[in-house]
């Protein structure tokens, strides 16, 4: 999954001489928290966030508050903006955002044109999609030995029960270093026949589980 798959393409930009007060108002109205700033040729020269603008603002009780709101955003915008390329992997973009403590990342193509933007919200939506919870499905969690072939073995049983897999997650068990956890979302409302097969074959089904076992 690339940045171009998840980025927002329809971007609102601001011009550098826009007043800070107007920019805040526009962002509030449109529910944005960031706006790239572009010059007349469309090249990105900076970015503003509602938080930065508000933090730089003098108290409303001070005389110069009104002056501040009339100043151009070019006075307070962040320059040297960190950007992503459309071909970057989504997880790399997420990494850049975490490392640099960013909540949004503009996307530029190889010519330096602004072509999109990704925000924390987009990444979270992508996460929801990757975990498969956006489609009607049931969650299956199985603990397996940390060995080659386990995902395949469990998948074969799922296939034999003619269930369609919406998503798969695989991660090391936090409790047992020699185990991994497989999490599937399966397009079925009734997993009982599959659970029965898994148990019969000795798999440790972590979810769904019976009452009485310590959660």
């Amino acid at each position: 999954m690339n940045v171009s798959d998840i980025m927002i393409r329809n971007i609102f930009t601001a011009e550098p001489d826009m007043a800070i007060g107007d920019a805040l108002e526009l962002m509030k109205k449109k529910h944005f928290r960031h706006m790239p700033v572009t010059d007349s040729s469309g090249t990105m020269i900076g970015i503003i966030s509602d938080r930065d603008l508000k933090e730089a603002s003098p108290s409303i009780f001070e005389g110069n508050h009104k002056d501040y709101m009339n100043r151009p955003i070019s006075d307070v915008m962040v320059t040297n903006v960190i950007t992503a390329l459309p071909m970057d992997f989504a997880e790399d973009a997420a990494n850049i955002m975490v490392e640099n403590d960013l909540s949004c990342l503009p996307v530029e193509n190889e010519e330096g044109d602004l072509v999109g933007i990704i925000t924390e919200t987009d990444l979270l939506k992508t996460f929801v999609k990757l975990t498969g919870a956006a489609n009607p499905s049931s969650r299956l969690e199985v603990e397996v030995p940390n060995e080659s072939g386990m995902l395949c073995d469990v998948s074969v049983l799922i296939k034999e029960h003619r269930m369609n897999v919406q998503s798969v997650l695989l991660y090391p068990s936090s409790e047992k270093p020699d185990c991994k956890i497989l999490v599937f979302r399966l397009s079925t409302m009734d997993m009982r026949p599959l659970i029965e097969t898994l148990k019969k074959q000795g798999y440790n089904v972590i979810w769904p589980r019976e009452l009485g076992i310590t959660l």
């Binding site: 498969g132 919870a133 956006a134 489609n135 009607p136 499905s137 049931s138 969650r139 029960h161 003619r162 269930m163 369609n164 979302r185 397009s187 079925t188 409302m189 009734d190 009982r192 979810w207 769904p208 009452l211 009485g212 310590t214 959660l215």
Partner: protein
């Protein structure tokens, strides 16, 4: 009929049957009818028959190509592409002969309920064959083919200009109805269900609040797995009252899935029969308080058809028709004797469950605490609108 309520049922509704081993089993309708008759709370001659919804009516919600696929599947022409395109031919919703007709009769029952209330002056109407809340516009899902509730809501909007509050207490999220009206400010959906982290269909998170003009008109109250009566009812009563007061509907449509019971094989909640006595009580009360009595109730899920569904749905009718005085502890002996031989489990002898049908819940306090937080979170748009500072 009894007081101001009508009971809708036709034998054709029993034809909605995927196969013998499928968990969705309409024998629960026969068992409920029988229990009510033996109790003396329902006279078979007085039941109002359902009708078969027309294709035109189905198209109030469903896509034409989907309906055509269901019709084809009914005639044995199931293409393998139907599985992914239309959700037909999967293990959840396999094709069966006459499936289009059978599904249309369930929809027609709910439409008949609407007409009984709007045209024939009844306050309340019950169609236990309805409540197929997972049906999507163009796709079958979770045992549901046509979504009777979505169709009935659209029908009420178009025909009677009604603002409808849809309340779903099935253990599964009422996704089909929610998404059908997600952008619509004149239909408010409120679903209580086991959290999607634990149960199908996975949606129904508190932050699904509607979109565009419909923002603030979808409410979701997901319960933690292993939640019990007290916690679930606290959330139900608080949320239903707040949402009704906030939306001020013309009519309340309740979906009464009976699968939050501890005995239900598909879910992980710890309800008892008491839940199904309390849930309709409040709906009844609020319908009189806000909607001039207008209340339609449908069935839904419920997969322990022996020990749970007949009692749960009978209680719904007893509350609706104001006959709860007939509950005297014991179930009618005739009913127990009639069904005992066929039942794979011991049939209950009482209307209500005794104490201790399930083991002690580990982490009970944590579950209750989490549920309380969910409630506040779910109602946030209302609190914000009313400027109630609870946070």
């Amino acid at each position: 009929m009894t007081g101001n309520a009508v009971y809708i049922y036709s034998n054709e509704q029993l034809q909605y049957k995927f196969h013998d081993d499928h968990p969705f089993n309409q024998q629960r309708l026969s068992m409920t009818n029988d229990l009510l008759t033996e109790t003396g709370a329902l006279n078979k001659a007085e039941m109002i028959p359902a009708r078969k919804a027309t294709v035109q009516e189905l198209m109030l919600i469903h896509d034409e190509d989907y309906i055509q696929a269901v019709i084809n599947a009914s005639e044995g022409q199931v293409k393998s592409s139907y599985r992914t395109a239309y959700g037909i031919g999967t293990d959840d919703t396999p094709a069966f002969p006459e499936m289009h007709d059978a599904a249309s009769w369930l929809v027609g029952g709910t439409l008949e309920a609407v007409d009984q209330v709007f045209e024939h002056g009844y306050d309340h109407a019950l169609n236990l064959g309805g409540g197929l809340h997972h049906g999507f516009r163009g796709k079958a899902s979770g045992f549901c083919i046509y979504n009777d509730s979505s169709i009935a809501i659209e029908y009420m909007k178009k025909k009677y200009g009604a603002r409808v509050l849809y309340v779903d207490t099935d253990a599964h999220h009422g996704d089909g109805v929610q998404w059908a009206f997600y952008n619509d400010p004149d239909v408010c959906t409120l679903s209580f269900h086991e959290s999607g982290r634990f149960l199908f269909p996975g949606t129904g998170h508190v932050n699904e609040r509607g979109h565009g003009d419909g923002y603030g008109y979808s409410f979701n109250v997901p319960y933690e797995a292993f939640s019990e009566d007290e916690s679930m009812l606290t959330l139900y009563k608080a949320a239903l009252r707040e949402v009704t007061e906030y939306f001020k509907p013309d009519i309340i449509l309740t979906q009464n899935g009976a699968d939050s019971h501890y005995y239900d094989p598909l879910t992980h909640l710890c309800g008892t029969i008491n839940l199904y006595h309390e849930i309709p009580k409040l709906a009844h009360e609020l319908a009189h308080e806000y909607c001039d009595g207008k209340w339609i109730a449908v069935g839904g899920g419920g997969y322990d058809i022996w020990r749970v569904v007949p009692r749960a749905w009978s209680l719904l009718w007893l509350v609706m028709s104001e006959q709860t005085g007939m509950i005297n502890g014991f179930l009618p002996e005739n009913w127990v004797n009639k069904w005992r031989a066929a039942s794979p489990v011991n049939l209950p002898g009482y209307w209500h469950d005794p104490q201790g049908i399930y083991p002690e819940i580990p982490r009970r306090n944590e579950i209750e605490k989490k549920n309380e937080r969910t409630l506040l979170n779910a109602l946030k748009p209302i609190y914000q609108k009313n400027k109630k500072h609870v946070f």
